[in-house]
């Protein structure tokens, strides 16, 4: 039996993971009752050396998760071979050994924790392996220390954050003493903080313990730490190289439904103006230094200019920031035009119908389990006004009260104290129909595809309008309109929603709320778990709806890049209160205050900041990399002009 693998291994360092012509077909039943093969992987040949940190990138459905399952022998190849530490995964007697060597962390934190106490879960693997009791305890201890979860060892996993749960899952794998850990989109369901926790943990394990890491993801920012990046598409490996080599090929990545980090994108755009820039930059600092090296005169001139008195665009940026700081001190919301005073708005209590906000929260507080010892204030004295046609970004880290707040907006939760007004009427007053409120205020929850239930797409989308008392035909008409707006292809409308891809399901679910013709559409992280192209499509559609149909949109998001690009106004929550509220470009430039709320500015803001520090006169409020590049071009032109003058 050992004969075959030995011949294949003629390397000085034996690969920990090696696949040769790995091909895998899913068998799917067709509607006619026959069988149909779906090729998920085709002729994948890989070689991973011990101690390497390899990232596998690919859009949803590119075959990367199928590949991951082969490494743990959860799937066996249809053709070709997979060797883990020299063992063919098809050998049944080696199965347990292979699974110990290559441990796996899955996407959903809840669905991979087996025990109800952290330490018992970490011990699950070693118990299955038949390891003696004392040794299990030692391993569990070491594994929990390695992921920094020692003090939570007696806790219930249900009380942990997503990032902590994934760290427990990693500890569960570590306790089996693996040589390799495969993370199958293990960060996809986490918030930025959780993602960082998990990545820091695996980076450390890779560096300190020499454990091979295979990180499967579609978050481009995460692959920077990798030694090598493998890009997959349609079951093939299409690119391989260092993160720098991969990110330099932005156009190809875009075709593969991927993007590059904003910093790199800005670098590429700047390179068009300054050809001597390197073809790939990964950090803001690097970008600033590269640009300074490429156009030193602009920075020198800028420095001199700054000494005299900042002129032109720099002033505009500074002024915007100053204005924003002044405004955000008062928690009352400010309308679009920056001049309006928040206090004046508050004293004018009964506003005219014309500029009456569509929806208003007045000193709303919400306490969970009120009156019990477990009482917990989630929202604390929040006042907020939402006006027609706004595109609001609602930001806040996990636990900041976002989810509770949006449920106040359509009456799913009634405030413990305070009032909610829709068109000037108190929605919790007697006789007010909450159903009519819910019709006007559409709420799309996180992972809305989990609420699909009908036998075909059209019927599912028509569920909402039907509940409003419309006839079947009218409801279906509304459904068709909504589906068109979300951009779902017509041939999919008669399919079962469960046969669609993740991104398509997401659109069906959003259409389900949209079909009720809401005036305000609130979406809780509508792009969670989608690949970059899927994210852009959903956000683009929302933007179009807001612009063309005048729908007011409230977008709850973790991604500062997304809200900075699309939203006109940003509201930042922290600890259940409104920390900041104002026009988007005045909010996202305030890096320090955002960081205080455990958020961050968009990457481009950090780049522009770094450039300013180096002496380039650029404003900070660029919404996109393209706009930032434009600002830089203007700054370069201005300095050239100045330089031309004697």
């Amino acid at each position: 039996m050992d004969f075959f693998p030995r011949i294949c291994y003629d390397y000085s360092v034996m690969s920990i993971i090696r696949t040769q012509n790995l091909t895998y077909d899913y068998i799917q039943e067709t509607d006619e009752g026959g069988e149909q093969k779906l090729r998920a992987l085709e002729a994948v040949s890989l070689d991973v050396k011990p101690g390497e940190f390899v990232a596998i990138l690919g859009h949803n459905g590119s075959g990367k998760s199928t590949l991951a399952k082969h490494i743990n022998a959860l799937l066996l190849p249809s053709e070709g071979t997979v060797w883990i530490d020299g063992e063919d995964t098809r050998l049944e007697e080696k199965l347990l050994q292979i699974r110990q060597t290559a441990g796996m962390v899955f996407q959903n934190p809840d669905n991979q924790i087996i025990a109800s106490v952290v330490e018992e879960d970490v011990g699950f693997g070693p118990e299955n392996m038949g390891i003696p009791t004392e040794e299990i305890l030692r391993r569990v201890d070491a594994a929990l220390t390695a992921v920094g979860m020692q003090e939570k060892r007696k806790n219930s996993p249900n009380r942990l954050s997503g990032g902590q749960k994934q760290r427990v899952a990693i500890a569960g794998v570590l306790a089996m003493k693996p040589r390799c850990i495969v993370l199958d989109e293990a960060t996809a369901m986490l918030d930025p903080r959780g993602r960082k926790e998990v990545l820091d943990t695996v980076s450390r394990l890779n560096k300190e313990e020499g454990i091979t890491i295979l990180l499967i993801t579609h978050y481009m920012e995460e692959v920077e730490r990798a030694d090598r990046v493998i890009v997959m598409d349609g079951g093939h490996v299409v690119m391989t190289g260092t993160p720098r080599e991969i990110f330099a090929r932005e156009e190809e990545l875009t075709k593969l439904r991927l993007t590059v980090p904003q910093v790199t994108e800005l670098g590429h755009l700047l390179r068009k103006q300054l050809p001597s820039m390197p073809d790939c930059v990964l950090t803001a600092q690097e970008l600033a230094e590269a640009m300074m090296a490429a156009a030193p005169e602009a920075f020198a001139a800028g420095r001199a200019g700054k000494a005299e008195n900042a002129a032109g665009p720099a002033e505009a940026g500074g002024a915007a920031q100053a204005r924003a700081e002044e405004k955000t001190e008062t928690p009352a919301p400010a309308p679009e035009n920056a001049g309006a005073d928040a206090e004046a708005a508050e004293t004018a209590a009964p506003p005219d119908a014309a500029d009456r906000p569509l929806l208003a929260l007045e000193h709303v507080s919400y306490v969970y389990d009120d009156g019990t010892p477990m009482a917990r204030t989630a929202v604390n004295d929040v006042s907020l006004e939402i006006r027609k046609g706004e595109f609001i970004g609602l930001l806040g880290h996990t636990g900041s009260g976002k989810s509770t707040l949006i449920q106040q907006l359509n009456g799913l939760l009634a405030p413990t104290s305070g009032h909610v007004y829709c068109d000037g009427q108190d929605v919790h007053a007697e006789g007010y129909s909450l159903r009519s409120l819910r019709r006007r205020v559409g709420l799309v929850f996180q992972y809305p595809e989990h609420q699909l239930f009908e036998s075909d797409v059209l019927a599912d989308v028509a569920f909402g309008p039907k509940n409003l008392g419309l006839s079947k035909e009218e409801a279906q008409e509304k459904a068709r309109l909504a589906l068109r707006q979300t951009g779902l292809r017509e041939e999919l409308w008669t399919k079962s929603p469960f046969d669609l891809s993740g991104g398509q399901k997401r659109r069906v679910a959003i259409a389900g709320v949209l079909a009720m013709d809401p005036e305000i559409l609130i979406l809780d992280e509508p792009t969670a778990g989608l690949d970059p192209a899927g994210r852009d499509e959903i956000l683009g559609r929302l933007r179009a709806m807001q612009e063309e149909r005048g729908i007011t949109v409230v977008l709850v998001s973790h991604s500062m890049e997304d809200v900075a690009e699309h939203c006109s106004r940003l509201v930042v929550l922290g600890g259940g209160t409104v920390r900041m509220d104002g026009p988007a470009e005045e909010i996202f430039v305030q890096t320090e205050r955002l960081e205080e709320a455990h958020l961050a500015s968009p990457q481009v803001t950090y780049c522009l900041r770094a450039l300013r520090e180096k002496g380039l006169d650029v404003p900070l409020h660029a919404r996109t990399a393209a706009q930032a590049a434009e600002f830089c071009a203007q700054a370069l032109a201005a300095s050239a002009q100045k330089g031309g003058r004697p």
Partner: protein, 266 residues
């Protein structure tokens, strides 16, 4: 929804928490038997003292335990009312056609006390024992059944997983319910058949989610080398300690006391 505390492990370190789950299983069994032996105030008194002692050293707050009674409160009130109104005997007072009898009051009071104590007694087991320990205890206590091909380990594993997923699925139910309410669904009004039909938008996604979770979980278990109970070792194997023998003695003393009270009808 989140306030369901019945059956949820209460993480605190106490002598009861440290006891061997087999002892607690035995205690629960004895306590249930004892409650059905109890007929007199004295017997109930002894059972109450035993339970109070049990709760006190377990360090589970009384408030937490009482909150756990909330879901069964309705059942409790109904059964008490039936017993109060329908028991014949010496009439204490009557309003219109309703007669309240002496026997009815005594009977329903005993009934209420017995039911409450039964629920508390049984849930003390799950408050102080993690599902995994409970599973271990059951597996070991009933291990002899595997000789006659009863899949004891598998049943125990299923139980412990079910307990782990109760809070997750409860939360999910809440979420899906709200999501459908946001789409105008109505779960509260209408006649019975209408209401059952209205549950479909809640139940279908819930089942699908449960099935998806089951699939994910089985993969995760396989990936961590789970292959049934064969050759499995334990991180915390069950070994009796001195405290466990003392507990057995206390439980047996209590049982003896209850039997004596029953025999002599005190």
């Amino acid at each position: 929804m989140k306030s369901i505390t019945i059956g949820q492990y209460y993480a605190v370190d106490s002598p009861i928490h440290r006891l061997d789950p087999r002892v607690k299983l035995f205690a629960t069994l004895v306590f249930i038997v004892a409650l059905f032996l109890a007929q007199t105030p004295a017997a109930f008194g002894l059972a109450i003292v035993f339970l109070a002692f049990y709760v006190h050293i377990s360090k589970v707050p009384l408030r937490y335990i009482l909150r756990g009674l909330k879901p069964v409160l309705f059942l409790l009130i109904i059964s008490v009312l039936f017993n109060l109104l329908l028991t014949k005997g010496e009439v204490v007072f009557s309003i219109w056609k309703i007669q309240i009898t002496r026997e009815g009051i005594i009977f329903s009071a005993f009934m209420a006390v017995r039911l409450i104590m039964l629920i508390i007694g049984a849930s003390m087991m799950t408050y102080t024992t993690t599902p995994n320990q409970l599973t271990d205890g059951l597996e070991k206590s009933f291990g002899f059944l595997s000789k006659i091909h009863v899949p004891v380990h598998e049943i125990a594993m299923m139980m412990s997983i079910a307990l782990r997923f109760i809070p997750i699925l409860t939360e999910e139910t809440d979420k899906i319910m709200k999501a459908q309410m946001a789409r105008g669904a109505d779960f509260e009004s209408g006649r019975l058949i209408r209401r059952v039909m209205n549950m479909i938008p809640l139940l279908v996604p819930l089942f699908i989610s449960a099935i998806r979770r089951a699939g994910d979980l089985s993969l995760a278990m396989e990936a961590r080398c789970y292959h049934g109970g064969e050759g499995r070792t334990k991180m915390r194997p069950l070994r009796y300690k001195a405290a466990d023998y003392i507990a057995y003695a206390v439980i047996l003393l209590f049982l003896a006391g209850m039997i004596l009270l029953k025999v002599f009808h005190i």
